[in-house]
């Protein structure tokens, strides 16, 4: 029987691939007195790990997911449970062939072996596949299968052998107790109660897969995850497989156009589907082990949902699957975890001190997730940048059951879909709208969603500008390149540069740090000097301990003890959590989220001062209101906090007012601006065209944990005397030549071998003139971190980190897009803007 310890340094709940891996990595990092709890028996407690199809394709469009998968694969290989089989994705349609070329190009960016092959070459690899059904395929030779249960067992046993871990199997968690004495007034974990006894602990890690939301709620946290059904059948005995050795001989086939896969499993063929209707099972409805006919996550098969897929599978593999002697021996509605954005939920839960999440991870990421969460828990910077998987990234409305289910339903059938990088969600919108939303709708705004906010990307009302700027709009003829895009963006851009534009920036996340220790808090996080005079605005990066980027934002010093932080909506929640984690325990600094209290409207362009001066008595001249300062100005009877900065490279201001006054501010500027040629300007300009012409770096694109301030070309002459997180690393980075240099490249020729001109959208590999991948001394490949039009410079612009040897102006290189190479030239090495390199406009 279980001998449950009364105390633990951390309680890990869930002994699937993630929990076992986490226990192992924590033990390797020196943790002791760990306890792993699961309600089921070892080695297969009945979660999703137990019924997974266990194959790993290395290719992902998300760099983070690709790296987690790569690390996981290496760990499986070290454990001796990986069998390389190769894998083929087949195309039944021409658009899928294009997509496979795009996938192989992405694979090249990450250094993953991949090639587009003909139907005959597919049939040579997979002799039982009817090549007449397909147009071709993409072959990934490093695909393989793993024994995830064995891997989990080996990792768990390693931790047990080292004396670091006790395993309590067959014990269900009944409650997670907290007391209200954590940081920032949050509750903190005190114990985990199980059917086998209570365990005192200050740390509890949720590794419970589909049960995670249920367990997290016991501690008062919400995890935005839902179990959803993935149907799978196993057909056998397959005559052809009778003579093969081991688990798998033939490559795994992904019949992506039908959302299915076929994978040899010993003498059987497993056929899985993501094509059926989304079937959501709330965590509380998952049956117990005793109630389950098979296991809690192997629910009864609903044959009607799968029948259409049988026909598709039979069409692809007619003889092998059409054998009347081969039976459907196993068929399940398997439960898997899905999140609103498809990424795992990792890191400390924002609601409760000591509660960690390592949820929503599949077999292909499991060991990697175990490693990064263990590193994170140990106060280290995770070896894979998992910022996109930070559990704190969701706003409250995004953590609701309705939102999670809606996005899971919408995302399910896209699992093997062709998803455009700018593709928008349809469900659960609109949620967060600006006070001028109705005005924007009247102007024909095309809204994109960020962090739940509806943001105008461009305005149909500006279509008439296309005539004025005809010949400079860089239209895109390829449907893919023009999808989720409009030449109106470029027209808005030019109109802003000619006159001025009004930009709705409601989606900014804004929070105030106040109190006697406020300065210490912001100083301890920011690279830039924040002990500045009140009224100064400082643009700064925040680093992690290793000197990688943690955030990138502006700070206004509003008073001696009052700082206002303005950051992007997409990163707002994570940034807020980062500040919250670093508040002093004595309560001498407080953090207040102002996002829903303040609205930001941007006014930029050469005529911005004329417009602003016409609605205010205050002095907004260059001398009277210098760059990088902020102050209250009176506009139309409103007291407005104006901040003179720019992300588009123009003279102008961010104007902040309480939300309920946003409409009045907009109207006043609109009326005053019309005679000056003011136009509404969308995020297409703000986030891409205006930014890229100025070489401004974006967090998450250029600024990630993998690169440094030095490499991004963002160092300043001096480093402030005060300590800040990452300072030691940053000083060391400054002492050495960079391994890569962030450059702006222009595309010299957009002509493919056939068809319309192509425009890169980001993520493409940069190649040498000979077509070879560029990889820097730290092993990081060069790829396009941001791409977009530069209407004022008349070129399509790419940002990319290049090895120093290539990072010089005029160097000719290539970029690969959909399998074809295009010539590019380094236009800027470093941070000098391509447009208005002296920044005369901003400082005018």
């Amino acid at each position: 029987m279980n001998d449950t310890p009364g105390r633990a340094s951390a309680v890990i709940v869930g002994a699937g691939i993630v929990g076992n891996s986490l226990a192992c990595h924590l033990a390797r990092l020196g943790w002791r007195d760990l306890v792993l709890v699961d309600k089921g028996p070892m080695p297969n407690p009945g979660g999703s790990t137990g019924h997974a199809s266990n194959f790993i394709f290395p290719i992902e469009y998300s760099k983070m997911m690709m790296e987690l998968t790569r690390d996981s694969t290496e760990q499986y290989q070290e454990l001796g449970v990986f069998t390389q089989s190769g894998g083929v994705e087949v195309a039944r349609t021409q658009v899928r062939m294009d997509e496979l070329r795009r996938r192989c190009t992405a694979a090249k960016a990450w250094g993953i072996p991949a090639e587009v092959i003909s139907p005959a070459e597919v049939a040579k690899l997979v002799p039982y596949l009817d090549e007449s059904v397909i147009l071709g395929g993409a072959y990934f030779p490093t695909v393989g299968v793993v024994d995830s249960l064995r891997a989990g067992t080996l990792m768990r046993e390693e931790a047990q052998r080292s004396g670091a871990l006790q395993v309590v199997a067959g014990a269900e968690v009944l409650g997670i107790d907290t007391s209200g004495r954590g940081r920032n007034g949050r509750p903190k974990i005190t114990s985990v109660r199980t059917t086998a006894g209570e365990i005192e602990t200050s740390i509890c890690v949720i590794c419970c897969g589909v049960w995670s939301p249920r367990i997290a709620r016991m501690a008062g946290a919400r995890l935005p995850l839902t179990p959803i059904v993935h149907q799978m059948i196993s057909v056998g005995p397959i005559a052809l497989f009778a003579g093969t050795q081991g688990e798998i001989t033939y490559p795994i086939v992904r019949d992506v156009d039908t959302n299915m896969y076929e994978r040899q499993h010993g003498g059987d063929m497993e056929v899985g589907s993501y094509a059926h209707r989304p079937i959501i099972v709330p965590p509380d409805d998952i049956p117990s082990i005793e109630e389950s006919a098979l296991s809690p996550t192997e629910l009864p098969f609903t044959a009607d949902d799968f029948d259409p897929q049988l026909a598709e599978a039979l069409e692809l593999m007619p003889e092998l699957l059409g054998d009347e002697k081969a039976g459907i021996r196993y068929a399940i509605n398997g439960l898997i975890s899905m999140t609103p954005d498809g990424h795992p939920l990792l890191g400390p839960a924002p609601e409760v001190d000591g509660l960690w999440s390592a949820a929503a991870s599949w077999i292909k990421e499991g060991p990697g997730v175990g490693r990064v969460v263990a590193e994170w828990m140990s106060g280290q910077v995770p070896t894979v940048d998992v910022d996109e998987a930070n559990v704190a990234r969701f706003y409250p409305s995004q953590r609701t059951v309705a939102h999670v289910q809606a996005r899971a339903r919408e995302g399910f059938n896209k699992m093997y879909g062709i998803v455009h990088p700018a593709e928008q969600w349809e469900s659960g919108r609109p949620v967060r709208v600006s006070p001028v939303y109705d005005r924007e709708r009247e102007l024909g705004a095309v809204f994109f969603e960020t962090a739940g906010w509806e943001r105008p990307y461009w305005y149909a009302s500006n279509e008439s500008l296309q005539e004025r700027y005809a010949g400079r709009l860089m239209p895109r003829d390829a449907e893919w390149d023009a999808r989720w895009w409009s030449p109106v963006i470029n027209a808005e851009h030019l109109a802003m540069r000619d006159a001025c534009g009004l930009v709705d920036l409601s989606a900014f996340a804004i929070f105030d740090v106040t109190g006697p220790s406020a300065l210490d808090v912001v100083q301890s996080l920011a690279v830039a000097q924040l002990d500045v005079a009140p009224g100064r605005v400082v643009y700064t990066s925040l680093l992690d301990e290793r000197g990688g980027f943690k955030a990138d934002l502006t700070v206004m010093r509003l008073g001696r003890e009052r700082f206002r932080v303005v950051t992007g909506g997409a990163t707002g929640q994570a940034d807020l959590a980062w500040f919250a984690e670093h508040l002093p325990a004595d309560g001498t600094a407080a953090l207040a989220d102002q996002t829903s209290a303040q609205v930001t409207i941007g006014l930029w362009g050469p005529r911005a001062r004329d417009v602003l001066q016409s609605v205010t008595r205050d002095d907004v001249s260059h001398a009277g209101f210098p760059f990088a300062t902020c102050r209250e100005v009176e506009i139309a009877g409103l007291s407005v906090l104006a901040s003179r900065i720019s992300y588009v490279g123009e003279l102008g201001w961010e104007l902040h007012v309480p939300v309920e006054q946003g409409g009045k501010l907009w109207d006043a500027l609109w009326a005053a601006g019309t005679p000056h040629g003011l136009v509404p300007v969308g995020i297409g300009v703000y986030g891409t065209t205006g930014r890229l012409e100025k070489g401004y770096r974006a967090f998450g694109n250029e600024l990630t944990a993998d690169y440094t301030l030095v490499e991004a070309g963002m160092t300043r002459p001096k480093v402030k005397a005060q300590p800040f997180i990452g300072k030691e690393a940053y000083l060391a980075q400054r002492a050495e030549p960079p391994a890569a240099v962030l450059c702006t490249l222009t595309v010299d020729d957009h002509t493919p071998p056939s068809g319309p001109a192509r425009y890169m959208l980001g993520g493409e590999p940069i190649l040498s003139p000979a077509g070879e991948r560029l990889v820097d001394a730290k092993g990081r490949p060069s790829y396009v971190t941001s791409a977009g039009s530069g209407p004022s410079v008349g070129r399509h612009l790419l940002l990319a980190y290049l090895p120093p040897a290539q990072a010089s102006v005029g160097t000719r290189l290539q970029v690969e897009c959909f399998g074809d190479a295009y010539p590019v030239t380094v236009a800027v090495a470093g941070a000098t803007p391509l447009f208005d390199p002296d920044n005369a406009r901003i400082r005018s």
Binding site: E291, A293, L294, L299
Partner: protein
């Protein structure tokens, strides 16, 4: 050979059965449905007989519209024809069920070709009444053998065997007849992909049998308290071998 196999849609439950809050039904929200294991064997037996002798296997069920799923499952295994007697929301006991089957058999006789052999499971997995087969035979005036684990069918006669308290009983009688079979009579096959696709396309004949109230009614369901099962760990690794061998020996497995 015209064979009818009577099957019943029953919940596919795990080790612990959950009853709905009103105590009237098994909670099937998270369980699937299937036919009873004995009936799976009856379907397999019928398919094997027609594979040998030719003829038609009809699967017959009395149940809700959803019971067509179970008929299609049987079609996927090789049955040729499916008949759904719609329960119409009524609670059918063994007498009424038997009467409905008898009526269907007579209807079929009138329209032809008549059934030569009726196969049923020995008892249903949910209610366990052990009655329907005998009542059908009685209603039709056909010979009946129950609990059969071995069956030989020739053109017009059957030889059926069953175990009874350590002995084997053999019955021989002519057709038509009713036979209820038990698990172990054969090893049912799995459905093939083409079989499943054929089943999906097949038509299901539907009839509305006449329901009449009868003496046996469900008042409510209760799950009896089960003694919590105790597991004994024999040891770990190779240390466990002697104890394991001793246990297997006690169970008579090593003989």
């Amino acid at each position: 050979m015209e064979i009818a196999v009577c099957v019943k849609r029953v919940p596919q439950v795990g080790g612990r059965i959950v009853v709905t809050p009103d105590g009237q039904d098994v909670d099937t929200r998270m369980s699937g449905f299937a036919i009873s294991p004995h009936e799976e064997c009856a379907v397999e037996e019928a398919v094997q007989i027609t594979e040998r002798l030719g003829g038609t296997v009809s699967v017959l069920t009395l149940g809700p519209a959803e019971a067509a799923d179970q008929l299609r499952d049987a079609l996927a295994l090789g049955a040729h024809r499916a008949v759904l007697l719609e329960a119409g929301g009524h609670a059918w006991g063994p007498a009424g069920t038997a009467a409905a089957i008898v009526a269907e058999v007579r209807r079929r006789s009138a329209e032809g070709p008549a059934y030569d052999l009726l196969l049923l499971g020995n008892e249903a997995a949910d209610t366990g009444d052990y009655q329907v087969g005998i009542r059908v035979a009685h209603g039709l005036g056909w010979p009946c053998a129950t609990g059969i684990k071995q069956l030989e069918v020739t053109g017009d006669a059957v030889r059926a065997r069953r175990e009874y308290r350590g002995h084997e009983e053999t019955f021989e009688f002519g057709l038509p007849a009713v036979i209820t079979v038990k698990e172990g009579i054969n090893l049912p096959r799995y459905p093939s992909l083409p079989g499943r696709l054929r089943a999906k396309r097949a038509a299901v004949e539907q009839y509305q049998p006449q329901w009449q109230p009868e003496g046996l009614r469900t008042r409510g369901l209760r799950v009896p308290d089960q003694p919590r099962q105790q597991a004994t760990v024999l040891g770990t690794g190779t240390d466990a071998v002697p104890a394991l061998v001793r246990l297997l020996d006690e169970l008579g497995i090593l003989k």
